[in-house]
Every structure is written in C-alpha cells, then in structure tokens.
Subunit: 164 residues, 2 copies
DNA sequence: AATATATGTCAATACTGCTGACATATTTTT
DNA sequence: AAAAATATGTCAGCAGTATTGACATATATT
C-alpha cells in the first residue's frame, strides 16, 4: 500500500507526507525550545529574550532596526525585551559610530555567559541529531529548511549564515 | 579556510555549523507560521487554535488528554482554546464510547473547511521546498528533525506519523 | 529649511501560557 | 459497596509576548 502511494507520486508530495513534514517541524521546534525555557525562567525571561540574546551575540553591534528585521516583531515588542536585558546587565547599547541615531547592541560579559549557557544546550541537541543522522542528512535538513524561508530574504539569510 | 575548518571536523559539529542549524530552524519556523496566522486572525484565533485544529483534524476522536500530550500545554490553556473552537462551531465533543469520562474531539464541517484552508497553505510551502530540495534532501530533513524530538516519545511520534 | 530616518515611549488590547484549587462523572481497585 | 484513581472542566490570578496607533527626540539627508 505504501508502495502504491509512493509510485503514484515519487516526489514525496502526497498529502500524508507533507503532513508528516509539517508535524516533524512542530515537534522538533516544541522540544528544541524546552531546554532554554527552563534556564530563562530563572531570570524571568522568556523566548523573546533568548532570541534577542542569541542574535545580538551572533551579531555584535547590530542595530535595533536590523534586529527587528530578523525577529519580525514590532519595535514596541522588542523594546520591553531589550529594556529588561539592558536593565539586567545582559546587553549594552552604544551610539552608532557612523550614524549616531543608531543604537548598536552588544552583550555584556554577563550576557555572553547566559547566552553561552543556553546555546550550549541547544548546540548539544543539534550536534546529537546531526551525529545520528549523518553528514548527508544534515545537508538535506539545511536545504529543505532554507527552502521554507520566505523570499525575498532567503538569499540574504543564507549569505549571512554562511558568512561566518 | 572553510576547507581547513571542515577538515578539522568532518562531522559538521563545529560551533558555527551548529549555529547555522539552529538559526535555520528559527527562520523556517518563523516564516512557516506566518501564512496561517493571517487567516486565523480573521476569526480572532491564534496559533494555539490552529494546532488544536490540526491535530484534531489528523486524529478524529482524539481525547483531551491525548491532545494535551501532543501540544504539551496545560489543561487550562487548552480549555480556553477548545471552548472557543467549540463555541464557534469548529469542533464538537462526544462522550467516549469505551470510557464515558472521556470527551472525544472531532472537527465539524466548518472546522474541516478552516483546517483545510490553512493546511493547504502550509502544504504548498512544504511541497515547494521539497520539490526544490529533492527526495534525498527530504529524507535528511526528516531524519534530523526526528533526532531533535526528545525521548521518550520520539519513537511513538514517528510511529504515529508514519502509520498514516 | 524641509523631510526622512532611527529610536524610544505611552496607552490599550489580545493571545498564550502558567499555577493552584476545586468540582463532577466515571472507572478501577480493594 | 466503598475507596481510590482517572478524565475532564472551571475559576481566579498572573506573566510573557505580541499587536496597533500616537507621539517625541535626535540625527541625517535632500
């Protein structure tokens, strides 16, 4: 029966298969964010704080506007998160050198510590999954996920990600 | 330089590569949920409603407890969402036949319509990504995502997903 | 000098999630 | 039959994340 279905559409585009692909993404995301959530709760932080920490950590000196573009939330939503991180001493701002209207964002030492603590957990999880799946599967994983990113910024994101 | 790094760790376990894997998941999830969000907003529903619709649609007659297990939220959180869906005529409950304490959940015709409307968008997105990436990449995508699902229910989820 | 841009902030609102407590119906165990 | 466990529902209260719209300030560009 599975054979029949596969023959009917060898490109994995049957509704069942697509549903599987959707659900796998849901489950993986659900569990992937669990570890960090627990650590963040100690500081009364949530996922939004984590995302800010992550992207500031990965892009020291990023401007508020660029961070908003990555997170795709409103200025007001980020504002609260950023204020909390700054007040807690995890992030610091610095007036832009080229454009003094900008506020460039950096992690403090404390911020780096927290970010590292969280990312270590996630990296361990990904490393484990990568190891089990093998290099070829990893390439496929990246290819499909990249395809799920909306144009027009897919190209920019891939460039940014691979620049490192 | 990339050559050097790759040689140093042929298993793609360098921190940079792990970060890429993490960020791809973030971006893909971010964009993947955008389409549905727009439709749901028309009904004053959010992602939680969508998830309930999705899993009730895929598992007609599912019990509240089983749905809670999938979504990993509390009874009270689901309660609000479920009440709204029932009140809006998208979901109906039915006393369990084997165990009459249970409330089995089903989509109404209206619920099926909404669910189909949303899932069509997501399936189109996944189908597009699958097509671009190719069958081999799809296998890798699934393998890695499956590896990101926490034990002990990874096996159960894979079984449930592939049973269809 | 006028306009545009980058950022910040205020108020109001809504969705999603949590904990803890308590209630009811039903099933299982003793 | 009585006691215990289970499945579900509900109440009150709280917190995190996100929204829109309006307005303010500093700086840069035209």
């Amino acid at each position: 029966m599975s054979d029949l279905k596969s023959l009917a559409n060898p490109l994995f585009l049957r509704e069942d298969e697509l549903r599987q692909g959707i659900e796998l993404l849901f489950y993986a995301y659900r569990d992937f964010t669990r570890g960090p959530d627990e650590i963040l709760a100690r500081y009364n932080f949530g996922r939004a704080h984590h995302r800010a920490l992550h992207f500031i950590g990965g892009n020291p000196g990023i401007t508020v506007a660029d961070l908003l573009g990555i997170l795709r939330i409103t200025k007001q939503s980020l504002s609260r998160v950023l204020s909390a991180l700054i007040e807690g001493g995890f992030v610091r701002q610095q007036q832009g050198t080229r454009d003094r209207r900008q506020r460039q964002l950096f992690l403090t030492e404390q911020g780096k510590n927290l970010e590292r603590q969280i990312s270590t957990i996630q990296q361990a999880k990904v490393a484990q999954a990568y190891r089990e799946a093998g290099a070829e599967a990893v390439a496929g994983y990246r290819k499909v996920l990249a395809g799920l990113i909306d144009e027009p910024d897919r190209a920019a994101i891939l460039r940014a990600i691979q620049r490192r």
